[in-house]
């Protein structure tokens, strides 16, 4: 069940919200949240609910033990390391097994079979939340006496289970125990949800067609313009899909009286790559900073160590995004750019006018997305070639002009939607012309519903029974 499905919007969410509103005791609300989240989780692949429950119980008690039980430092360290390894093994088994086997096969020319298990929903996200929980328990930053139920509701709450944000459990647990459930929060949450829905359904799900048209072309037929259109479409699709999702997650959480962290802050307006990573997938960057980068020593070490730390963090960031070497390359690429910026470029950049800095950043980001979106290095190289006129097909051909013309309006909306302007304008209209603004919001919501219904439209040329 995705947030942008009819059944979620018209049945699941209203039903759970109504129940949550009627039932007053906080304890009962926690239970409702757990049950709703288990149903939500089970919707796609019911068997994995067992994994989610086991992981939750295991991590809660490890955290409890680390924070509460008197032990020697050594045994605490062993418990901590052991628990992290258990979490990573689960993640590794489902997410990286195929990747590992493929790599071994390629290196040793062996022929091991690749296990083909589907990835459990949100596994990468709740594993990271769990690791943060036990790491904070180890360093005494949490109070684990919240009880298993509150912890379970926090880590598996359906608004954030599938794609984050990766909040610290100590920020969520107190809110689960005393949710600030009010009409004002439901309203604020609903509007956030609608904004996210519009980003996802009206922008991301449509601009993706342009990207797919680009990917479907044979390598020799891609003009320079087409390659840039295709990669712009990918950049927009990825951003509006994920930030739309994050807005919806934040909005739904707020409807239930829980404030989660931010994940995006108009990253495509960043003035440097360093700035970009302060604005893109914020909760993930923070996780890597707090639980990998700083424990490694951060930047308070020698230059050589610092370079190592940055590269380790970014290789892992890449690997987290997907089990393939192209993702690792994408991560390391950012590590190198960030080092370059820190030690040299940032001084140069600061002297440049803002539009130039944004253009520079977007250039680096788009080249990054080439690796991120490619299934192989050969494909990435071909796309890079096409972007810069390698193969000399053409600067622009009639196909590229066709796609530019038919997608122009959508591209303009995507461009504007990447900036803060429409959101400032929206806030302004709410204050000046509340009725007009509300009618506009409702109409756009209805339009999003029309697009959602269309996505289930499956015409057959021959009668299908």
């Amino acid at each position: 069940m995705t947030f942008s499905s009819l059944i979620f919007i018209f049945a699941f969410l209203p039903a759970v919200l109504l129940l949550y509103g009627i039932v007053k005791p906080a304890r009962a609300r926690t239970v409702i949240m757990i049950i709703a989240s288990l149903v939500f989780y089970a919707w796609g692949n019911p068997v994995y609910v067992i994994l989610l429950i086991l992981s939750t119980v295991f991590n809660y008690y490890v955290g409890y033990d680390l924070a509460e039980t008197e032990r020697g430092e050594r045994s605490r360290q062993w418990i901590f390391v052991g628990a992290v390894i258990v979490n990573l093994l689960i993640l590794g088994y489902f997410k990286y097994c195929g990747f590992l086997v493929d790599t071994v096969n390629a290196l040793l020319k062996t022929d091991f079979a690749v296990p083909g298990l589907p990835l459990p929903l949100g596994l990468s996200f709740f594993t990271f939340k769990a690791i943060a929980w036990i790491a904070d328990a180890r360093s005494g930053k949490i109070n684990p006496r919240c009880g298993l139920l509150s912890f379970a509701a926090s880590i598996m709450m359906f608004p954030t289970i599938s794609m984050g944000p990766i909040d610290r459990m100590q920020d969520i647990v107190p809110q689960i125990r005393r949710p600030d459930f009010s009409i004002a929060n439901v309203e604020e949450g609903l509007i956030l949800f609608i904004v996210g829905l519009i980003k996802k359904v009206l922008l991301a799900d449509n601009i993706v067609d342009l990207y797919n048209s680009f990917r479907a072309l044979p390598a020799g037929e891609v003009s320079v313009l087409m390659a840039w259109l295709g990669m712009a479409a990918f950049a927009f699709q990825l951003y509006f899909d994920f930030s739309g999702y994050s807005d919806m997650a934040k909005g739904i959480s707020l409807m239930f009286g829980i404030r989660t962290g931010d994940n995006f802050d108009h990253p495509y307006t960043a003035v440097s790559v360093t700035d970009f990573w302060r604005k893109w997938h914020i909760s993930l960057s923070r996780w890597f900073r707090d639980y990998i980068y700083i424990p490694l020593g951060g930047n308070r070490v020698t230059v050589g160590r610092h370079v190592r730390n940055i590269l380790v963090v970014w290789a892992l960031t890449g690997l987290w995004h997907g089990a393939a070497w192209t993702y690792v390359a994408w991560g390391v690429y950012y590590g190198l750019v960030l080092l370059l910026e820190k030690y040299f470029l940032i001084k140069v950049l600061e002297k440049l006018p803002k539009p130039v800095r944004v253009l520079y950043t977007m250039f680096i980001v788009i080249i990054g997305w080439v690796f991120f979106s490619s299934r192989s290095f050969a494909e990435a190289a071909a796309t890079c070639g096409a972007l810069f006129g390698g193969g000399m097909h053409a600067l622009a051909d009639s196909r590229a002009l066709y796609y530019l013309r038919t997608n122009l309006l959508l591209l303009i909306f995507c461009f504007l939607g990447s900036t803060a302007w429409p959101f400032r304008f929206y806030t302004w209209t709410q204050k000046k012309y509340p009725v007009v603004s509300a009618v506009g919001t409702v109409l756009l919501t209805l339009l999003a519903v029309a697009f959602m219904v269309y996505s289930t439209y499956q015409p057959f040329l021959y009668a299908a029974f």
Binding site: A42, L446, L447
Partner: protein, 398 residues
Amino acid sequence: MKKIMKRKKDPEQTEQKRVCIFRHIVLGSCALFTVLMLLLFIGLPDRPFSETENRSLAGVPDPDAADLLSGRFMKSVESWTADQFPGRTGWVRVRTETARISGQNKIGGVYICDDGYLMEEAVQPEEEFVSRLVQNLTAFRANHQDMNFYMMIAPTAVTVLRDKLPENAPAEDQNALIRDFYSTMQLVGYTPVDVGNVLEGKKNEYIYYRTDHHWTTYGAYNAFRYAAGVMGLDPDAVMYNSLAVTADFNGTLSGKSCTFGDEKDVISVWFPQDDTQPAANYVVEYADNQMKTTTFYDETYLSQKDKYSVFFSGNHALVRIKSPTAEDRRLLVLKDSYANCFLPFLAQYYRQIDVVDPRYFTDDLETLIATDGIDEVLFLYNANTFFSDSSLAGLMEQ
């Protein structure tokens, strides 16, 4: 002093109030809308079939322990709620109109073209698909050295009527694909029936439906006249009168592109002028339902959405057409629905035609060829089905 303070505060308070009004309206409307949709969903009876989508709609799923555990039950619930969503077609139309306004002219793989034409985009087959087809067709031909093999792959409107496509539309030309395939097949003993030029010559006439993916009977007749030359038949032996049987045909492409109902097409059937011809004295046997009739046409379909099924009441696994011709020639036609309005022209020349649609035919083809004494084979497809449907290659592998 107090007064000034109050006045200074005022605008902020009004703004706060306005934001509250804004939020109340949004929440109120969304709540009302959700309740309304739920009531309609519960109140309205489930529709069993969608004419615009040409398929059965999902109904209430039965809960079943195994389906629940595998997640299949949840998928059925989602299909059911989506298929029975109140005002489904209207919502789809809103989406389509929005896409059109935003500048899109290809919707659901269908180009919206000049003169009210809707054209399905050309299929680009994968290399493996083509090589499997070539391999199986070659083996099939090799098993029947003594027979004539003809192959007609008709280009669709998107190629023949490409002048009507939206500006710069990146529609692939099927002719190159078809002719490449012909030259490969010619080497292994197939005789191509290349109707591309004939159709291009008639491109200003009504040879394709505007709202449907088929050719018109007139288009099929022109192709037939060319095919007759290749297959050693005299196209002038029979003269025809055409009769328009409906002018209210809204075909599959209007459903596929969700531009319902504006444009209508005319379906004609063609009768031999001289009713002493075999055409008036044939028998059509449908193997799937054991039906026998003395007509190619089923006019009950003219009052339904799927009016093209007036020809042979649609597609069947196996149809046998028997005519009292002087010559005893027996033809096997392996085909898609492009053949349905073409076959009546062929029936005048063959004692028996076995019409096999590989998409539905599950029996053994070799047995059929042997028992019915077939001595010629015609493959009759449009390029989009031919290069995307794997059932033909599958049939040869049996």
